[in-house]
Symmetry: C2
Subunit: 342 residues, 2 copies
C-alpha cells in the first residue's frame, strides 16, 4: 500500500473548518447534516480525490459487507457458474464478494477459511475440498454464529443452510436410463465417499440396480479422485475384469470424456459396445463426438440460492436452517443411446 499520505476525512474537515464527524455524516448522507454543508463537503472530497478507507469503517462497524466464497477449483465450469450466480445476487444486494480456491486441498481450505474469518467476512459460502475430512475450521463459524452456507458439497454434521443437487436421484436416473437402453453390466466411477455428493450418486446407482433386480457387484464400483488420469486407470481396471461392464456411469464429465477417448482408441464403439454417462454437463459434453449423456446441475441457480441464504442469515438473526435440493436434469445424448442405433 502507498506510503504517501492519502486524504482522510480529517483533511476535508480541516479545509472547511468543521469537524470530522460532520464530514463522515455528510459523506454517508446522514439527514442531520444540511444539504448546503453536505454539498460543500462532497465537492472538497471529490477535488481531493478522497477515498474512504474501508478497513477503518469495517473495523468500527464490525461489519465488512463482504461475502467469502470458497470453491474447490475455479476452472471447473460448474463452480465458476455457481460463483457467477452468487456474485450476481450479492452484488445487487450491495455486498462485495471475495473468491478463493482450495485446489481441493484440505490444508489450503483451512488457511483460506481462517483468513476469511480474520478479515471478518460477513458470511461464508463454501463447497468443501475433496480431501477435507475434519471440520473444526468450519464449526467455528457455527459456534460464533457467523453465517455459513454449504453448496453442492455439504457437511452433514454441521447444521446450517445447504444448497445441494439431488445426487441420489441423479445417480438413480442415469442408471435407470442405462438399464432402459439395454445395458446389463453397469459400472460406476465414484468420487471420494466422504463427500455426500459422490456418496449419494452411488446410492442412487445401487438403488436403481436393486429396483430392476440387477445384483450389485462391488468390482464394478471404483472410487478415485475423478481426474482424467484416474479415469483412464479406472477404465483399464474395469476392462481387465473377467466380465467387463457394458456401460460406465462416471462421476463427472471429465472422467467420462477420458474414458470415452481411451475406449475409442481401443476400437470400442460408443454407445454400441459400451455406454458412457457423465455428470455435470461441462460445455464440451454437447460438442464432442459422440456427445456425452450427462446430468445437468443448475450451477448458476445454485449460486443464486446460496447468496440469498447467506444474505438472509446476515441480515436477519434467524437461525432456522434449510436444505434446498435442486433438481437435476438427465440430458440424453449419443454416448448412451444404444437403442437409437438399433
Amino acid at each position: 500500500m502507498i506510503k504517501n499520505s492519502e486524504p482522510t476525512i480529517h483533511d476535508i474537515a480541516r479545509e472547511l473548518k468543521i469537524s470530522a464527524s460532520t464530514v463522515s455524516r455528510a459523506l454517508n448522507d446522514n439527514p442531520r447534516i444540511s444539504l448546503k454543508t453536505k454539498e460543500k463537503i462532497k465537492a472538497i472530497a471529490l477535488s481531493m480525490g478522497y477515498r474512504p478507507n474501508t478497513l477503518a469503517s469495517n473495523l468500527r462497524n464490525k461489519k465488512s459487507n463482504t461475502i467469502g466464497i470458497v470453491v474447490p477449483l475455479i476452472n471447473r465450469y460448474f463452480f465458476s457458474s455457481v460463483i457467477s450466480g452468487a456474485e450476481d445476487v450479492a452484488f445487487k444486494a450491495g455486498y462485495n464478494v471475495v473468491i478463493s480456491q482450495s485446489n481441493d486441498l484440505a490444508a489450503k481450505e483451512i488457511s483460506i477459511v481462517q483468513s476469511m474469518f480474520s478479515n471478518r467476512v460477513d458470511g461464508l459460502i463454501i463447497s468443501i475440498a475433496m480431501q477435507t475430512n475434519t471440520f473444526e475450521h468450519l464449526k467455528i463459524f457455527r459456534k460464533k454464529n457467523i453465517p455459513l452456507v454449504f453448496f453442492d458439497r455439504a457437511v452433514p454434521e454441521i447444521e446450517t443452510d445447504k444448497i445441494v443437487v439431488d445426487d441420489f436421484a441423479g445417480g438413480f436416473r442415469v442408471t435407470q436410463h442405462l438399464i432402459d437402453q439395454g445395458y446389463q453390466r453397469i459400472a460406476h466411477l465414484a468420487g471420494t465417499q466422504n463427500l455426500m455428493t459422490y456418496f449419494d450418486r452411488k446410492n442412487g446407482y445401487i438403488e436403481a440396480l436393486r429396483k430392476n433386480g440387477i445384483p450389485f457387484d462391488e468390482s464394478l464400483v471404483i472410487i478415485n479422485s475423478l481426474t482424467s488420469e484416474e479415469g483412464i486407470t479406472a477404465v483399464q481396471q474395469l476392462m481387465a475384469l473377467k466380465n467387463p461392464p457394458d456401460a460406465i456411469f462416471c462421476g463427472n464429465d471429465t472422467t467420462a470424456l477420458s474414458a470415452m477417448i481411451y475406449l475409442r482408441d481401443k476400437g470400442i464403439r460408443i454407445p454400441l459396445d459400451i455406454g458412457i454417462v457423465g455428470f455435470s454437463n461441462e460445455p464440451f459434453s454437447k460438442v464432442v463426438s459422440p456427445s456425452i449423456t450427462t446430468i445437468a446441475q443448475p450451477g448458476f441457480q445454485m449460486g443464486q440460492k446460496a447468496a440469498e441464504s447467506i444474505i438472509r442469515q446476515i441480515e436477519t438473526k434467524e437461525r432456522t436452517f434449510q436444505t434446498i435440493v435442486l433438481p437435476t436434469e438427465l440430458i440424453i445424448r449419443e454416448s448412451s443411446s444404444r437403442r437409437s442405433f438399433q
Copy 2:
C-alpha cells in the same frame, strides 16, 4: 459479522494481568518478549479461541498483504489458469489473493477496482474488460504509486508492468499456417479493436497476407464480441459473401467451435472445404471432432509472472517497468490440416 464479543488481545492481557502491547508482541514473536511470557500468552490465546482481527492490524500497518486479481470472466479456462498461476506464487510469498470478475463490463470493473482500492489491496493484477475504454479508475493506482500489473489485456497509455502474449506473432503464424495449407481466402473474426490483444492478432493476420502477396479484403474481417452467438452470426455473414472465405481464423476457440458446428450442420466439410483455427486452446479443442487447431497461451505461467511482478513492486520501491512477452504456440490439429487429407 457476529455481534457476540470476540476475544481481543485485551481479554488475554486482562487474564494474565499484563499489558495488551505485550500480548501483541508475544503473538507476533517479538524478540523483546521472554519465551516464558510468550508461551503463557499463546496458551491463553489458544484456549480462548483468540483470532486476530486483520482489519485492525491492516489499518494500523497500512498494509493488507492482499493482492487483488480482476479477470473478465472466471469461467474462461485461460483466465482461471492465470489465476491459479498467480495465486500459487502469491500464496507461497505469504500474500492473500482476492479475485473478482468484471463479466467483461466496464462499469462492473470500475466498481470492483474502486472497492479493491478502498480495501487497500497492496497491489492489483488486472486484465481489462472488453468494454473498458476509459481508464481513470486504473490511472489512480499509478498516480498514488500503488502496484499495478496488467496481464493479457493491457492498457498502452498506462506505464506499468505488463505480461502479454505475442498476439501479433500468433496471428501471423495462424495465417501463415493456413496459407501453407493452401487456403486462399482467409477470413478473420476479430474481437473489439480497443483491446491490444485483438488488435495485434489482426495485425499479424494482415502482415502474413501481405508477406505472401495476398491482397487484404476488408469484408473478410468481422469485429464482434467473440461470443458463440456472434460467432454464428459472423459465419453466416461471411458465407453470404459473393466470394466466401475458404478458411476462418477465429479470435478465440469459443467462436471457432460454434463456427465449426454451424458449418458442419450446413454440410460443409472441415478442413476440406473450410479450414478453422481458434485461439486460446480451451480444453475442449483437443477432443472435439474434428479437433481444433489453435494458439496455446501459457496462462499459468502468465499468472506466475504477473504475481512475481506485483510482489516486486510491493516489496521494493522500484518503479522501472517492463513488458514481458510470452511466446505463443501454434497447435496444429485436424480443423486446418487440409494437406494432410490430400
